[in-house]
Symmetry: C2
Subunit: 156 residues, 2 copies
DNA sequence: GTCCATGCAAACTGTTTGCACGCGC
DNA sequence: GCGCGTGCAAACAGTTTGCATGGAC
């Protein structure tokens, strides 16, 4: 973890950026959570450790991290964004149209598809978002009540 | 086209909805354009035929059409939505990170992937959005100037 | 000491809603 | 004529920005 922090510090220095406590906190929160957090949620969690952090700073930090490639932004059809620290984990999403649950999954075969498409379009593909929607196991059978519209992102 | 309109009329009547000139215009505009239009663009184009249509009506109509399955909504990473009349055409999107061009493409093999995932998650999949990002042929070679951030949706 | 980063509040964008009137059925 | 659909303007949510102060380097 402290090794990580060293690399971070260099990453920032290289760009003439400063590694402030606020920025560290935002990154920590994102790395510790395996859920998709929206800006508001990040703000709340960060505030539990530092009362005085502002929502604007959270937004600025998330945008910065996105540009630096440390964080990914997802728009899963709702009116706002969710953020996730980039890591080895699965990168695609399934949303249940009934209970709102978000399930992450991996799909190695999509890489083949990417290669295919690159050739067809003569393009370079940098990123792929796959978003499936439908009804999850819980809702197909026992049907759970709506309302727990949480991004629990159970890894599959 | 008038046959289409007849089917429409029945679709609406079945739900106790009214087929107003405003609703017809919105649908016409979406069907005539092969681009992805955002609400504002639809509003502008509709206004060329009826000055008095309001943006609120456009939004309400788009939402209604989405629920009826006549129109699809896409959020391609920008802060707002784009709409497209559903048709036989390709359904997936590639966005060029340099010039902003959006290219639509088809990908029949994704259906196999869907089946796979349904089994793995024990879920029913209703819809799939695939959004690739990278650099298009024009930008990889000749590099076009940024700025023409249009949704031209060249079919591939 | 320099200059980037922050907090605050106000601005802004895209979208939704309340309400009285108008028009399709 | 009944009641859905409309236009208008105001409300709303999420996000961005201007500015003076504060803190990393």
């Amino acid at each position: 973890m402290s090794g990580c922090r060293e690399r971070l510090r260099e990453l920032f220095k290289a760009r003439g950026l400063r590694l402030t406590p606020q920025r560290l906190l935002v990154l920590e929160v994102l790395e510790e959570s395996d859920k998709h957090l929206d800006a508001e949620a990040v703000h709340e969690m960060v505030r539990m450790r530092d009362q005085d952090i502002s929502l604007a700073t959270v937004y600025r930090t998330l945008m910065l991290f996105k540009e630096m490639g440390l964080v990914e932004e997802h728009r899963l059809g709702e009116g706002h964004s969710h953020y996730e620290a980039v890591g080895g984990g699965p990168h695609y999403h399934f949303t249940c149209l009934s209970c709102g649950r978000v399930i992450e999954f991996d799909l190695p075969s999509l890489v083949t598809v990417e290669r295919d498409l690159e050739r067809r379009l003569d393009a370079t593909i940098v990123e792929a978002h796959l978003h499936m929607m439908g009804y999850c196991d819980r809702c197909r059978n026992g049907r759970v009540g709506e309302g727990d519209r949480v991004h629990e992102a159970s890894k599959a």
